[in-house]
Point group: C2
Chain length 221, copies 2
């Protein structure tokens, strides 16, 4: 269960303060599939970074499974980032000196999964996103859409109960995008995975059961 109470976030640039989130309150139940939509620059990635424990709000409260995140210690936060939440970054964030396979293995190395098991799982995940023939490529040897699919496979590595995907089909053609959405939805069907998906694509939003709109840092109905 994800609960935000009047979450605000401002950045400081020189002496100017830039308010980005101006008071977001929302609840996402376990097993929900939610689309997050809004204009470029409206605060979607900022909100996802807070929900994913990658950034902290300037004020307000974030409660994850009934525990206030601001009361958690470093180890608890590290556990959440590695085991509880899978994150697909908008700019992929692949490690350039690792191959596609190694990028997908990385979360499993942190989670202590054995070598043989993690290689098999990583190959299985690359296959699920249509890239079994690119496992030995480095990110610079992959197309934009292929890099995005490696980032998706990596987010699924530890089969986390929550997946936060920031425009997961942005670099994909319609058909490839559809197969990725079907993969994510199948995880929700099979394991009850909670999905929050930022998208600019109305078709992707239509796959989700609920749509949350954000504009200028505030939710709009």
């Amino acid at each position: 269960l994800i609960e935000l109470r009047d979450v605000k976030k401002s950045y400081k640039l020189d002496s100017i303060e830039i308010p980005v989130l101006k008071g977001i309150s929302m609840i996402v139940e376990k097993g929900e599939v939610v689309a997050l939509v809004g204009p470029s620059g409206s605060g979607k990635s900022t909100l996802m970074n807070i929900i994913g424990c990658l950034d902290v709000p300037t004020s307000g409260e974030y409660i994850l499974d009934n525990i206030p995140v601001q009361n958690m210690n470093r180890d608890q936060i590290a556990h959440i980032r590695n085991k509880k939440i899978g994150f697909v970054f908008q700019n992929f964030n692949l490690i350039a000196r690792l191959t596609a396979l190694e990028n997908v293995e990385l979360p499993m190395i942190y989670a202590g999964v054995g070598r043989k098991e993690r290689k098999e799982r990583a190959m299985e995940l690359l296959n699920m996103v249509g890239l079994s023939d690119r496992s030995g490529h480095y990110p610079t040897q992959l197309s934009g859409g292929q890099q995005q699919r490696v980032a998706i496979a990596r987010a699924l590595a530890n089969n986390p109960p929550i997946i936060l995907a920031d425009e997961p089909t942005g670099s994909l053609d319609t058909a490839t995008g559809k197969s990725i959405m079907e993969l994510l939805l199948s995880l929700n069907d099979k394991f009850g995975t909670t999905l929050i998906i930022v998208t600019h694509d109305p078709t992707v939003a239509s796959y989700c059961r609920r749509t949350v709109r954000i504009k200028d840092g505030l939710l709009v109905e």
Copy 2:
């Protein structure tokens, strides 16, 4: 005038050869507006890099304004990249230690434009893409869509006769994407700028007068 004759491109990975473009022949007339579409990994960016003189074909001929590109010297190529062709990269390729304004100024610095004139032009271009209030931000202080719009403004800096845009609206919401397409099409109306636009978005392709489809490294009708 852009003319490709049986252009092929293969990458070498360890000892394996990966054919990516398998024989592309096409002509783009001056002032045309062409959409380039195809599945993820089909060779769109590879083709655009060759047309933009950022990469060379493994075999085949590329003739730009009646001059074979393989016969050009370094200075001629540098002139084409700086003055003749504006390129919007799929992954933006902004310089991280420069502000949005400085990124847009960069092509004009290479072209020898005076300081006052280039600052005014750069500000005007940022305004045209809706980012006049973000001119002092570094790329990491901008959202994904804002970075993309800075990359678009930079490609227009020297008002080049050819613009190659690799998924220019991939990170933009529908409304922002529409205003960017209207900006590009207005350049075609006013100056006769030739546009080649890679896209996964059928709406963007519908703005173009011609659509070229690519699949597995070959053009399909």
